[in-house]
Amino acid sequence: MSIQIFTLIIFAGSMLAGLLGSLTGLGGGIVIIPMLSIAFGVDIRYAIGASIVAVIATSSGAASAYVKEGIANMRLGMFLEIATTIGAVVGAFLAVYAPTNLIAIIFGVILLFSAFFSFRNHSFSVSNIPVRGWISHLKLASNYPDSQGNNIDYSVQNVAGGFIMMWIAGILSGLLGIGSGAFKVLAMDNIMRIPFKVSTTTSNFMIGVTASASAVAYFQRGYIDPGLCLPVTLGVLAGAYFGSRILTKAPTKGLRIIFAFVIVILAIEMMYNGFAHRL
């Protein structure tokens, strides 16, 4: 295959991944790795390297829009980034020693979890109990504007639990080359009882920093190949941008079911190949 055709095919696939990822809110990075490794036979380490760069691009692009709306909680994000970046460094370290087939199996499990997680309902009651003790100095409680423009106050619960979950999200990001947005939202929404909209936007804000901590380690190990990063990064970015434009008109619910179905198949394929030592 000529290099031009190869680049064009990867670009088209990445664009579709970015489009579906942005329309469903699951992120584009999550299908890039199985796409490259299963469909194109790319070594999983190159796939991880290209994915993490694409994750930085889309999360930074999306966060630039969110942050101006004043919904993301900057202090909360920065505080929890301590946990995610430490996790990312640990994950990237583990990635050196973990056999690639084990990484494929873990990836499959995480894919399944993410698909399941996207259908879970998130109608948790938002906490208004004031934060006590030394944690209150962190000023994590805040407010956000709702769709009517009213400021809604919220508090945070179980900061230690959320911090540990963020650390795990960071490890997965560093080990697998994903944004692990689902786990970040889990930490904020389920554990810390932060409003869903604040959780998703703050998560997006944090993904780029977490991914950068992993990417600097990957870079020095030769995981990041320019010939792959070119179509993957530009493709995912173009798809995500187009997705954000048509988001209000798209049948997101139907797409979400289709995308979750695709993810489940990819997850099984990844696990099967991992157990068969093919990846």
């Binding site: 999360s59 942050v67 101006k68 050196v96 780029g208 990417a215 600097v216 190990r221």
Partner: protein
């Protein structure tokens, strides 16, 4: 009220930093990509086996050397580095924002995050 206005100001600044970084990096990757695809006559590189550090552009000095002779792959890698640097730049600008708000605790927290990323970059855990 004054405080909340400042907060909004910082958020807008951080949003602009992120947008500028992504646009700049993408433009560099695109330019490098066009050069890479037009000057490359051989077949697709073999990605099925991992070459690790045999890949020529995994260090800053190698990328700079490649940039001097306008090598497409080096330009793409430089764009990738700009992209990796974008969230890091966001942290640096957050520190400026927290300093303006005189929130020393968050200046400190931001510096810790920066130090962790710096450690990840310099420890050089090689595979």
């Amino acid at each position: 009220m004054n405080n909340s206005w400042q907060e909004k100001d910082i958020e807008t600044m951080l949003g602009n930093v992120l947008r500028f970084g992504v646009i700049l990096a993408s433009a560099v990757i695109l330019i490098g990509g066009i050069m890479y695809l037009t000057h490359h006559n051989s077949n697709t590189p073999n990605y099925t086996t991992f070459h690790g550090l045999q890949q020529p552009f995994h260090s800053l000095s190698a990328i700079i050397d490649g940039l001097k002779i306008l090598q497409g792959e080096a330009i793409i890698q430089f764009g990738v580095l700009l992209l990796i640097a974008t969230p890091i730049a966001r942290i640096v600008f957050s520190i400026v924002g927290f300093l303006r708000e005189k929130d020393m605790l968050y200046v400190f927290i931001s510096l810790i995050v920066l130090a962790i990323i710096f450690a990840s970059a310099t420890l050089g855990i090689r595979g």
